[in-house]
Amino acid sequence: MSKMFEITDKPISMEDIVKKVERREAGAITTFIGTVREFTKGKRTLYLKYEAYVPMAEKKLAEIGSEIKEKWPDAHVAISHRIGKLDIKDIAVVIAVSTPHRKDAYEANEYAIERIKQIVPIWKKEHWEDGDMWIGDQLETTSYPSGKPEGLE
């Protein structure tokens, strides 16, 4: 059976992830598709590399699934994150959430991406025309002001 929460080194098909959450009782499905952006603050990316601590990352993705189940009991969630070399426009992550009511599908989906950026051990290395750098967080610094990821229990 296919995993609801997975780290993969293969291209991600959004339709496959959506299929994992499709149900006869759920009329609303939201997806978030994170792709590799060419320009970030005017800087041109050539390609990216993602690296993960795979077993822990899959565990943390599943944990996000459990958190969502607590907050939105009717939601079904599937998340796939790709690792390895990704080119511009390649899909890095797909989050699919199905719920009976659409409001929940948006909220739970956004919650998932926020949590991924806080607790899932995945790292991105940007390769620009003039060099490369491991990206430490969404502000593109490598430090956490609080000394640890926000929102961590």
């Binding site: 822990m56 607790i119 051990p121 790292w123 430090s143 956490y144």
Partner: protein
């Protein structure tokens, strides 16, 4: 023996993805100090530590046989 996994820039800084620390028991903070001294890994206060795939605080005890991972600020998504 404690197995220490390194990722991202720490892996490049140490020149290895995995270290083995010959110790029966030490706290997370002690491990960080040890890695700083013996492997010249700097700025470890910004780095989270996971013991057996769970985030740990500086005070938590690491015992021989545990797998520890240094988790620099994450950037997935």
């Amino acid at each position: 023996m404690i197995k220490v996994l390194l990722f991202s820039y720490l892996q490049e800084a140490a020149g290895a993805g995995q270290l083995e620390i010959d110790s029966e028991q030490l706290t997370v903070l002690q491990l960080k100090e040890k890695l700083n001294k013996e492997y010249e890994l700097t700025n470890l206060q910004q780095v989270m530590v996971a013991i057996n795939e769970e985030y740990a605080t500086d005070e938590q005890i690491i015992a021989s046989g545990d797998t520890v991972a240094l988790i620099p600020p994450v950037s997935g998504g």
